[in-house]
């Protein structure tokens, strides 16, 4: 889908928004640009985005990989510099002082913040088709889930538990929890009073008996941190298909993945309810 929109973009001349030389000082905003902006409009992204473990889209050859130093961006003469709320602030304010247009896009640690972030991106970058579609998809799914809650008095709510790297689980204060509950799952960690992050041993996973076991990233490369997922005791979850793997991007850039994850979790819940 995204590829179609990118080719469409290449065919169309740049629309109302004038900027044609965009630089980013933030890993997530890099990804947003690579995913949805026209490649010829990107002049620089951070070096991290070219690293294997973060790269979600190919990096065009002409794009300069910066290490968040103002000096690096000056020769590129960007007409728009994107940065997050934290990190690279020194470079951002230097560039501002030098008269460059710097826009701070808010970070997203919850669904509400994510909606605000997407809004801010649309405001800054213009109605890029991919970005608009992502925003609309998320808003539609969230509206549907709100409607579900008011409509049915007692919908079936299967339970779920996140088992991330280093046996970390996600509690009520986290975006991942919101996605689970919006998809119609009970997050067992939140029910046990976990607010943010907590450690969960395999024993606790087995004892909690979640209907859906949610892994988080780490499918490509080997890491001891992900060893728990490979334990034979979880085989019955794998065999019965009661597992879901959150993409790694959700952790550092929910704008890319949240809508798709929510959609898939809703399907997953339906499948579990149907099977049960």
């Amino acid at each position: 889908m995204n590829r179609i929109f990118l080719t469409l973009l290449l065919l169309l001349p740049a629309t109302g928004f004038s900027q044609s030389r965009i630089a980013s000082l933030n890993l997530c905003l890099d990804q947003v640009l690579l995913q949805w902006a026209a490649p010829q409009h990107i002049v620089s992204i951070t070096w991290l985005s070219a690293q294997d473990q973060y790269r979600s889209a190919p990096v065009p050859e002409h794009v300069y990989l910066n290490r968040a130093q103002a000096e690096e961006l000056l020769p590129l003469q960007p007409d728009l510099v994107l940065t997050g709320e934290y990190g690279a602030q020194r470079a951002a304010s230097r560039l501002e002082q030098l008269g460059y247009r710097v826009v701070r896009i808010p970070d997203a640690y919850s669904l509400e913040q994510l909606q605000a972030q997407l809004e801010s991106l649309v405001d800054t970058l213009g109605p890029l088709p991919g970005l608009r579609q992502q925003q609309e998809k998320l808003n539609r799914l969230l509206a549907e889930s709100d409607a579900d809650k008011t409509e049915k008095t007692k919908p079936a709510t299967p339970s779920a538990l996140i088992l991330s790297a280093n046996n970390i689980t996600y509690g009520s204060g986290m975006l991942e929890h919101q996605l689970l509950s919006r998809a119609g799952f009970r997050n067992l960690a939140a029910e046990q009073g976990v607010k943010q992050l907590a450690r969960v041993s395999l024993e606790q996973v087995i004892a909690a008996e979640p209907d859906l076991l949610v892994f988080y990233g780490g499918e490509q490369e080997f890491a001891i941190a992900h060893l728990a997922e490979r334990h034979p005791v979880l085989r019955r979850y794998l065999h019965s298909g009661r597992v879901y793997r959150l993409p790694q991007e959700l952790g550092f850039c929910p704008a890319l993945a949240a809508a798709e994850v929510l959609q898939q979790l809703i399907y997953k819940r339906q499948a579990i309810v149907d099977a049960g």
Binding site: N166, N167, S201, E221, L227
Partner: protein, 331 residues
């Protein structure tokens, strides 16, 4: 073997089931042990699954690795005729860990099966040969420790380097794991992976017990007693490499077990390097499974690393050994 020695070995053997029970009772979830045990292997109840699939393999793996490190330490002390010899301290474990890291992070996945312990054993073999060549048998304690520390430091640096460049998000944590070891999230698969190699190692060391005995009188006497040629040192080197490599491949490097255990056993069963092998294996199994029980019962945000626990026990012991060596006491 005197009856007293036999008694101590039986006592150690009898303590192992007790340690196993302690380990089975340790964990964040409270489980009714006896019914869960009786429900057996195939039961689907969560208590039985926790007991049979999670706690049992972990406890047995701790014992297996403890036994391997204990027997490896005793063999190494015997072969180098030096009571300060220890596989982890002298870089043997690091050699195994480095090989495992290269395979896991740059080669195949965890499911690479037999290749993992085999490569770890090769790494251990390389390191133990380096120590052997660099220090020589009967080397003074200071020269041995110097050679070992140098090899260990170099291999640890290579491990850190390899993990730094590994395409992993958790490089720093992975370094900690490999350097301090862990039994967390281990299952029957890892136990069965390590078991044959550790058994082969133990068997090789069993066949070299008389060589180790004869070596306590020096190399010349050992040769005159019929233990000449390269065969016997190679038997010991391979035995140590199999035992230590097999355990490092699944549990990371765990220090000080191989150092402390033979010393704890000497006053009890005497100096005979042959007898010490078995006593150290039993005591190593007991010590490491108790250390893991401690790990499981210490409450914290992060699970305590087993290597940290053994270092807490072992490092002061090591200081004491060096101080007594300085005083010219018999080690």
């Amino acid at each position: 073997m005197s009856t007293r020695d036999k008694g101590i070995l039986w006592l150690l053997l009898a303590a192992l089931p007790v340690a196993l029970m302690l380990a089975l009772m340790s964990g964040p979830v409270s489980v009714n042990i006896v019914p869960a045990l009786l429900q057996g292997w195939h039961s689907d109840s969560s208590d039985a699954v926790i007991l049979w699939q999670l706690r049992m393999p972990r406890a047995l793996l701790a014992m297996l690795v403890g036994a391997a490190l204990g027997i490896g330490g005793a063999a190494m002390q015997g072969m180098l005729r030096n009571p300060l010899a220890e596989p982890a301290l002298l870089g043997v474990s690091s050699g195994a860990a480095l090989a495992a890291i290269l395979l896991l992070y740059y080669g195949l996945a965890w499911q690479s099966g037999w290749l993992l312990p085999v490569l770890a054993i090769a790494g251990a073999l390389l390191a133990v040969s380096c120590v052997w060549l660099l220090a020589g048998r009967g080397a003074s304690a200071s020269r041995l420790v110097l050679a070992g520390v140098a090899i260990n430091a170099f291999l640890s640096a290579l491990m850190a380097l390899a993990l730094n460049y590994a395409p992993s998000m958790f490089a720093m944590q992975e370094i900690v794991f490999w350097m301090l070891g862990s039994f967390a999230n281990r299952g029957w698969d890892q136990l069965l992976l390590a078991l044959p190699f550790i058994l082969i190692g133990a068997l090789l060391l069993y066949f070299s017990r008389n060589y180790l005995r004869s070596l306590s009188l020096g190399e010349e006497t050992a040769v005159s007693l019929g233990f000449g040629g390269r065969r016997y040192p190679l038997l010991v080197l391979f035995g140590i490499a199999f035992a230590v490599g097999g355990s490092v491949a699944v549990a990371g490097t765990i220090g000080f077990v191989g150092l402390v255990v033979p010393h704890l056993m000497r006053p009890l069963v005497g100096q005979d390097p042959g007898r010490l092998l078995w006593a150290s294996a039993l005591a190593g199994a007991l010590l490491l499974s108790l250390a893991d029980v401690l790990v499981l019962n210490v409450v914290g945000t992060q699970e305590l690393r087993i290597g940290a626990v053994t270092a807490f026990i072992g490092a002061p012991f090591f200081f004491w050994l060096i101080v007594s060596a300085r005083r010219g006491m018999a080690l």
